[in-house]
Symmetry: D2
Subunit: 484 residues, 4 copies
């Protein structure tokens, strides 16, 4: 009965052992050991389901659960040595369990395949991580909202095309970043809702011939429901692709924020000062204070976009049924999650400790930013906007020709360009007035910004509540319940 | 007042015209003309908003609306000639409007920038397209469900790793594809919910100084709400990125389906026959009947993944405020949508007309696919599964050594490997029995499949209802309402 | 003999015509018509090869060539109407040829498949385009070298991490961009060398049964050699992938240049002024002068990276033999080439017309940029560099504490930090001295820069010569030769 | 003089230490320690250059070299413990060196920045890896050529569109895979030629103020030349992008080979049998023998395409000068190289041990594959090919209608379709004849295949020679030379 390839789980029908390179290439243990906790949780729940289905009796279930718990503790403590045949986290757990409780361990795999097992593990893992990514994202949103609230009225140049455009409040800009992250919050919830589906009990592809109550099994693991089709259950990696795409878009948002802060904290802008704690120096140039963290965050966007792309490409053209290609789901997923778990709190700290330099912002403002308001001034005198725009453009050119700032043009210089100009035109050259005028919803006036803050806080709170509901239930459950 | 660069909308402050190459490179008209309809709709609504805000009077509004309608008709009819200064769809519409109603046209741009205008147009466009993509997706789901329902009980080999694994129902496989598309349906709804946000009234970046009721404006265009932050409103292209990522994942699903059907309709499998209408021949080899459409669908996945990737990469590192880089949003978006508008109905037809060849499927089944059931048989005799698995593996090797199919081994040959085998073991070698045994939720048994069909239909219907609610409102509205 | 599906080239064995959607989805004519010229050239050469092989006689060959030439002229003139059955450029050419010369046209396809035909066409097309992309790239390199030469001695701040680092010459920076483009030049040559391989005569996959001299055929089309394996010949799209990857890396270079110039031409830096011809205005804000072209170039990098990615993804997992997925090679390729054909000359013009503002560069320099030289000063006094670095860092902090520029610290303030400082230390605070000191190869001193210019010119010239050799031969050849 | 942030290399001007998260996020030590060997080699060479330049004396140089050698041994032995301030491999080496030889270590960084140092290290690393990837690639090419040579005359169905097309030799197919890998060989050489450029002596960005002979320094490290522009030298990561793109295209080739072998080794084709050593079993289904390695290779293509894409995206839009984003170059590069170092020898073994099942290939052939030859038969009777194609198509339909194989149609049935058919037509239905007829260069006839083998061997040998020349010189050199 023993096989020459007998160190593996599946060697029964094999006459020879795998090639050594093959083993090294195919084994996932070097990176999937972090699934140990969820693998044990899944196995405990499965033991309960086998008992409920009458496949094992209560004593066997209790022994399995006890054994699994002790395996879980060994793995958590990190004192496990590698043995031949340890291909992946599942084989390690099964080997350790066998070492603990003997051949009874062999009953745990009844009706279960690594195909449904790993899909279950990975979903539990993603839900666990989502449960911590969500609050980390919210903490960053909160740091930003607090920053806005602490600097409500500072007027700075707003940019389009990296050219000064119109004056805005710094707080308005800060909030513009929050709304992006709130959309990321929505998407994380939606991804989690599609992740909390339990594949366990799908077997290798065709379902289980044992009378397992899959709804109860899903429930015992904290999943919202059981999967609907066994084939789809084992091959579906949409939840991985979605998390990667979610991370890629979030990273894109962070890269834009990083780029902006890199520029603004540089000598030419000087709008903000980063805390020393978030900058580093140069090994050659003693004066340097480099925004390394922000640069890495910007660069990470590339990497994570690459992970999302690469995984979609891995999925492309795969035929139905589990294919080993799917093992490529883990490393990009882990890397994307690990990166965000550092980046989100790091950015929260960076934002909170960053100094806003109102004086530098004031210096960077210029009259030209008020030309739209000057055109609006003409509109208020009855000039159609398109004509007003052309008129003001001509005054800009006139001022350039004379080499003076626009507001230093005499009133009759203005009138030469268009008769609708009057003395009151100079009131336009007040950036605070321009800011205050933009009162409509979403505008940069103080009231509109305060409304934004209130709205953002409500949305943030709602998101966190929804996310908590979706993910909390998957936390490890007391064993008694699992085997009840 | 006129400028040497006066053919453009913005030339007032310019002394010279743009370089010709520059124009050719920057102008978006060659591809954004398809936004003409939504641009006109947005402009009509904006005229109404300007009237409500007291910026223009009722007569002016009526004239603008009438002019815009006639421009819309001209553009729909396609009889518009190109003029210098036509950079994009917005400048074309404005020029035509000026030709129709004179300088009054110049009032329409009051407080509006191309930044909020194009963001509004593109969102309307995406919602319009979503309104047709949704039903096309549902039609494909329906074609698949109908196919499953029309071939409920055909047993075929199920595969993992492209090796026969266990017998399943063809209908079960067909449904496994439906669930993927139902997830795509969910994601489309969610993307649409984030798209139905109206940026109009955000100006270039800072908001509008005019007392525009942005909520009412959003409403008049059928959007669910107005955007919350003017800066974010003009620079947010998450809705484009999301639609591209949605399309990329959907295409990945379609590529897997295509790959499977290409294999199955080939000589070696022969499980299905594609209708001649969906195959093509060879210019050199007279006998050929090639599954070109399926191959292109498979290949398209690469292209659309590339579009999603490329657009995220375009977004990466952009600073706050509209940047021209965002113009790169349109072509990948249009291409992804156009492709799906052909692919989805094409696949519906291909699935509906495809013949299922039960006899070929029967031939491809083999006894080895029932070894899991043989192990389960041993489990039922009290052997732990892991041991049973090894035992059955040994019987497989024994049969191979003798060169006979497994079920042709004599009972005592089985017993030599393990004493638990008895004469009743041969009952295992019935694929229908194996299929029927997988009764748990999501399994391949007939009842489980019928439950799946019912569940899928409900979910499909719910999705279409939600999607209709989200998108229907953005359809063009009677002008009287817009100007009421 | 006629078939119900008889409008196609391949319909002989088909009972019914393709579905209309299918046709629309599969036909490549909307985008491959630009291959008409190379298709005709390839066909003329093939007619010659058929004659040499004795498959057709001289009169037939002459008639085919004459017919093809007239078809080529019709297509060039653009007066061809669409007919049913026109799937792609090949079917159009064959139809027109049949209309011109009757059934003899049917001999042209002897031993030829669209598989080897389209591979030949696409290679000829790429070589043609390479023949114009190469000089366009060289023209940009030349514009940059000229700019450097015209502004040899302007000292500006050099940056790392977007923080001022050390003074450099503007010309040194300009040249740093040239070397990237010279590497792109190398890669283009190498890609062309792998493109100039002729697949014609490979049939559909297995080679040709006719005694065609494939070497002579390759030669008659200007290819360097004939392909080595017929299967590989028809399925190899490495040359497309390579050109896309080449374009993606080149675009990445251009995106960095664009980003730098966008920043430098903005108000905060002010290092350069872009010519009005390469900027555009705003529809709302009259004062704006936006660097649209540079932004689009930056954004295009995303798009082209997406094309390269997408095409690799399309290729991934394709089995041997032509698959229709390969039709997805054309649109990304054409788009990437079209973009560069505009961008390269546009950038040449933009660089040539850009003003360099030495005064703004001077203002942006600061003493802190000379701290490395101050550390080197200490090294010259015997202090190990690592200690000198720490010492200078401490002086920077001391100056910051006192709120004075570093060079305003008194000599004894310096000496308090380290005794090696002497009065001559202040000579360090001269950026011209710092620049002049970096004389080693590749450094920023004037002599080193002048050597760079000489070296870059030589390399540029060598590249253009090699490229011309590789691509010139594929230009259309007189017909007499083809049929000799 | 000591700083509160004094554990770092650059802390002199900092008042506080970096945030702990920041450190964790920015430090590259967890992944760049594998550069220890090249870092030490680079440092030894740099010590020699400092001596030649008169910056240090011979005794100092000797002490530095001796210290570095001992550091190198410590690192190679792996017995180094982590200390605070160990950010990356460079700081570790410098710290250990200081521990060995005291403050003299501080002279090694004179004129050197981590910017030029890491660029040098990474290039040396890539050249070292190229020196082993090249032969591994050649070994795979050789395994394939040997396989072709060992199975020269086996006739199998050739496919297009995954449909049988024409008979070919198995050896011809095998060689079609070799030519792809030979192109990869070319590209690896070209990438190496652009990698063997030494940035050392470029300082942080501006070059070195010390009279270092950069040509000699490059030479002492085995580089072909020194870089031409100091700014470009420190920011150029083309060589990383190129290696990633090279790996991506190679992986694409391997993915196609893998897909083909997965299909062919499955039950439906059965063309090859994979050695048990390269397959694995199932934890649930005892009969399974899964081609896991091939599936992972196919899936890896996605991952590596993702790395190439992601890194290009990281590079996109970076301004001039080193930016920390570039630190993202290492992990994708290392991962791509590590993967290939397993995959290439694994595939060599898999190909060498794979059984070719000629009988299964014979069964899969069908008469329809000879219809092109039947059309060629008609051509030989004077029928234009296009007409012959349609005629043969009609005979195929006729045979289908009668339900018989084409060659079982009676001669007068053929003649009913076209009078040119005669009794000798049946000779066409011999696949060996069809194969033998394709004698032109690159065809599937035996002679053509033998010529291919000879040509492939020559090209393979030439590549390995070139590659050896390019990479051998960078191997570690005896210290005496370095300090001579």
């Amino acid at each position: 009965m023993t096989s020459e390839a007998g160190t593996t789980l599946w060697g029964g029908r094999f006459a020879s052992a795998p090639d050594e390179l093959m083993r090294q290439f195919c084994d996932s243990l070097p990176f999937d050991l972090r699934l140990a906790d969820v693998d044990v949780r899944g196995s405990i729940a499965y033991a309960g389901a086998l008992q409920s289905a009458g496949v094992i009796d209560a004593a066997e279930c209790a022994a399995l659960v006890e054994g699994l718990e002790s395996v879980g503790e060994m793995l958590a403590a990190g004192n496990v040595t590698h043995a031949p045949g340890d291909e992946d986290v599942h084989t390690v757990v099964e080997r350790l369990l066998t070492e603990q409780i003997g051949p009874l361990a062999g009953k745990l795999h009844t009706g279960r395949s690594r195909n449904d097992q790993v899909a279950t593990d990975l979903r539990l893992y993603v839900l666990d991580e989502t449960a911590s990514l969500g609050p980390a994202l919210a903490a960053l949103q909160e740091a930003m909202i607090d920053k806005a609230q602490g600097h409500l009225s500072i007027v700075m140049p707003g940019y389009t095309h990296l050219r000064t455009a119109q004056p805005i409040l710094f707080s308005h800009w800060m909030l513009s970043q929050v709304w992006k992250l709130l959309r990321d919050g929505d998407r994380l919830i939606e991804a989690a809702a599609r992740t909390t589906v339990c594949p366990l009990g799908s077997g290798a592809l065709a379902g289980t011939p044992y009378p397992i109550d899959r709804g109860a099994l899903a429930d015992s693991l904290g999943f919202a429901c059981a999967s609907e089709n066994s084939l789809d259950a084992v091959e579906d990696r949409d939840f991985v692709a979605e998390l990667l795409m979610w991370a890629a878009l979030l990273q894109t948002h962070l890269s834009g924020l990083a780029e902006t802060l890199i520029l603004w904290s540089g000598e030419s802008y000087g709008f903000v000062t980063l805390s020393e704690s978030y900058t580093t120096g140069s090994s050659l140039m003693p004066q340097k204070r480099n925004p390394d963290a922000l640069e890495l965050i910007r660069g990470k966007a590339g990497r994570i976009i690459g992970h999302a792309t690469g995984f979609l490409c891995t999925l492309k053209g795969l035929t139905s049924g589990y294919n080993k290609d799917l093992q490529e789901d883990k490393q990009p997923l882990f890397d994307a999650i690990d990166a965000l778990k550092l980046e989100l709190p790091l950015l929260s700290g960076l934002i909170r400790t960053m100094q806003v330099r109102a004086a530098h912002m004031a210096v960077a403002r210029n009259d030209a930013m008020l030309t739209t308001d000057l055109a609006d001034y003409l509109v208020s005198k009855g000039v159609p906007f398109r004509e007003a725009h052309a008129v003001v453009g001509a005054t800009v050119r006139a001022a350039e020709r004379l080499g003076v700032p626009l507001k230093h043009l005499a009133v009759n210089d203005f009138q030469k360009v268009h008769p609708a100009f009057e003395k009151d035109l100079y009131a336009v050259f007040d950036p605070h007035r321009a800011v205050a005028a933009r009162k409509a919803k979403g505008g940069t006036s103080l009231e509109a910004v305060q409304e934004q803050i209130a709205a953002a806080k409500i949305r943030m709170r709602e998101q966190q509540e929804k996310l908590a509901t979706l993910t909390a239930a998957t936390a490890p459950i007391p064993i008694q319940e699992a085997i009840a």
